[in-house]
Symmetry: C2
Subunit: 345 residues, 2 copies
């Protein structure tokens, strides 16, 4: 089968590898019908040492179940399924609380050295807990929007829910990538009154306005902070959704959050230490929250509005490529020629 | 009048200074009947440069109103009042939300160079918003417990409320100082099922048990973390209340918090940067919250149980001294010979 391997920073290849197979009785083997490249895939694309790979890539996919292990009860061959970016048993104490990313038996795709979504086949562990059946055909026009349930829509939603977005709240979203834009959409769905989108790519921020942003701030750093404060009566916003993961975004976040407010991070932090002292978080009773989104927890909740067309999160995809062209997909996203790239087999 | 001045680390003196007076029409002049020394006063006692002072000390006091400015409407001469550790107008948007420490016109006592609670007289700005009348006489036996409403009880309560302590939750309290012990009491009042107190002074942790701690862990660092995990099925507790303010306490906090849990800090951080990346906070969706407690917001709520004796937060005071002996009070607290020192004129 074909699969995507990253050999180091800037070095992505599609190669022929041994077919994935069912290994455990709780596995399902899924033939991928749609996958995509994530903004978070660009982090190793910038920094991965050449001698640490190759690594299988891709953690967002939809596909058709080809085979299931003996203990899989809820799925059968032929089912169309969406996979969240973490696998989980659905039954442990953390899954029952909706925190599937902390599942006692689960993990992330990058913990499975022979699997990845940017491929033809994927072995999915804990299939009953992980996969969700989709009530459409694999060629449905809804496919781009359904694919966002794997990660980017669920992640934007997690940011907004964790941040306590609610009717009447003001929100700043930092980052105009797919997650940032879907955090805008989520904040709007949750009733936010003002949604300030910080981003500087007009084609993206235009989509942000379509998703519900009331203001766009293109400036960054101190200038950007001053602009958001201007737009919010000098105080900043109740909630800040940080969808980037770099330190400057963190610093921007505590610069624009209102006293008593919340910074909700879903951009995977590319830093360890950051200011948490009196002048950044403590003095203003700022809450810092967020983490890897348990997107599995949100699929059933977000699915109806996707199916009936109330929301179209799939608008974040602005390019579709074949699996063999994935290296060009990475280049296009890295050079900001594409917002988010959908991959078909 | 006599007042306490800190000239530098380890150098506290009680000196004769000009009497405080009413300066603004919204001021009240209060003759102090009871004040105290705070664990947070020990931070400058350890680190204050000799050339930056002298600084007036004390931010917790009860006293009798001696004079009010022309615009003070709710208080009159002779009223017995308690002062929170921050003054606030009680009317701005933040006060109305219960975040009096972010009052648009308020501040902390250490921002007033000529005032402090460890003195005979204090000028209290924004008196209507700041002071709360107490329905007892100045010689009431309840005085130690009422004085904790200034800071330590309200601060422990703020930690627990901000951390989301609720029935069925497990809680770790880091620190067996007055705030930590009253965080234990608050967690118990809010229905916590398990309250693990991390502290290594038996006389203090005994009081912690009396206040509701179900377990005491004397070990610190990695050993302490392992012990708390042992006591909590390997997962840590839903909530961690950090009542110390030093970096090791922060590191301990993310070591003992459960995935999806909350660290609530009320110890004033003596550090700026700390780990917030994937391995500390982000990966487990840990929430970091807390800050200076808006104790003014909690006085009316906490007062009834103090007045009727349901709770006795004043048990944290284990020594009473005269104002002239305040330097010895600092030494006693610094050397852990006293938990918390009450000061009478």
């Amino acid at each position: 089968m074909l699969a995507t391997l990253m050999y180091g920073a800037g070095d992505v290849r599609v190669e022929d590898v041994p077919d994935s197979v069912v290994e455990a009785p709780t596995d399902a083997l899924v033939r991928v019908t749609a996958s995509c490249i994530c903004g978070s895939d660009l982090h190793p694309y910038h920094s991965m040492p050449a001698d640490s790979g190759p690594a299988r890539m891709g953690h967002e996919f939809i596909g058709i179940v080809e085979e299931v292990g003996d203990d899989v009860a809820t799925l059968r061959s032929g089912d169309l399924v969406v996979a969240p970016f973490a696998y989980s048993d659905g039954t442990c104490r953390f899954c029952r609380e909706g925190l599937h990313t902390s599942c006692e038996h689960g993990g992330f795709w990058d913990g499975l050295p022979k699997e990845g979504g940017q491929a033809e086949l994927v072995r999915v562990p804990l299939a009953d807990g992980t996969l969700v059946k989709l009530p459409v055909a694999a060629d449905s026009a809804l496919m781009p929007s359904l694919l966002t349930l794997s990660d980017v829509y669920g992640t934007g939603w997690h940011a907004a829910v964790s941040g306590g977005v609610a009717p009447g709240k003001s929100v700043t979203v930092i980052g105009d990538g797919a997650v940032g834009l879907l955090a805008v959409l989520s904040a709007k769905q949750l009733g936010a009154e003002q949604v300030v989108l910080m981003g500087r790519h007009p084609s993206r921020t235009d989509l942000g306005r379509e998703f519900g942003a009331t203001d766009v701030v293109a400036e960054r750093g101190e200038e950007g902070i001053a602009r958001v404060r201007e737009l919010t009566g000098g105080h900043g916003t109740h909630v800040v959704l940080e969808a980037v993961g770099h330190r400057p975004a963190y610093d921007q976040a505590y610069g624009v959050v209102r006293p008593g407010g919340t910074i909700s991070r879903v951009g995977v932090p590319q830093y360890d230490d950051a200011p948490v002292g009196f002048d950044s978080l403590f003095g203003g009773n700022i809450t810092l929250t967020g983490g890897p989104a348990p997107t599995r927890a949100y699929v059933e909740q977000l699915l109806p509005a996707v199916l009936d067309g109330t929301v179209e999160p799939g608008k974040v995809f602005d390019r579709t490529i074949d699996l063999v062209d994935v290296p060009e997909g990475y280049r296009a996203m890295d050079e900001r020629r594409a917002l988010k790239v959908l991959v078909t087999p």
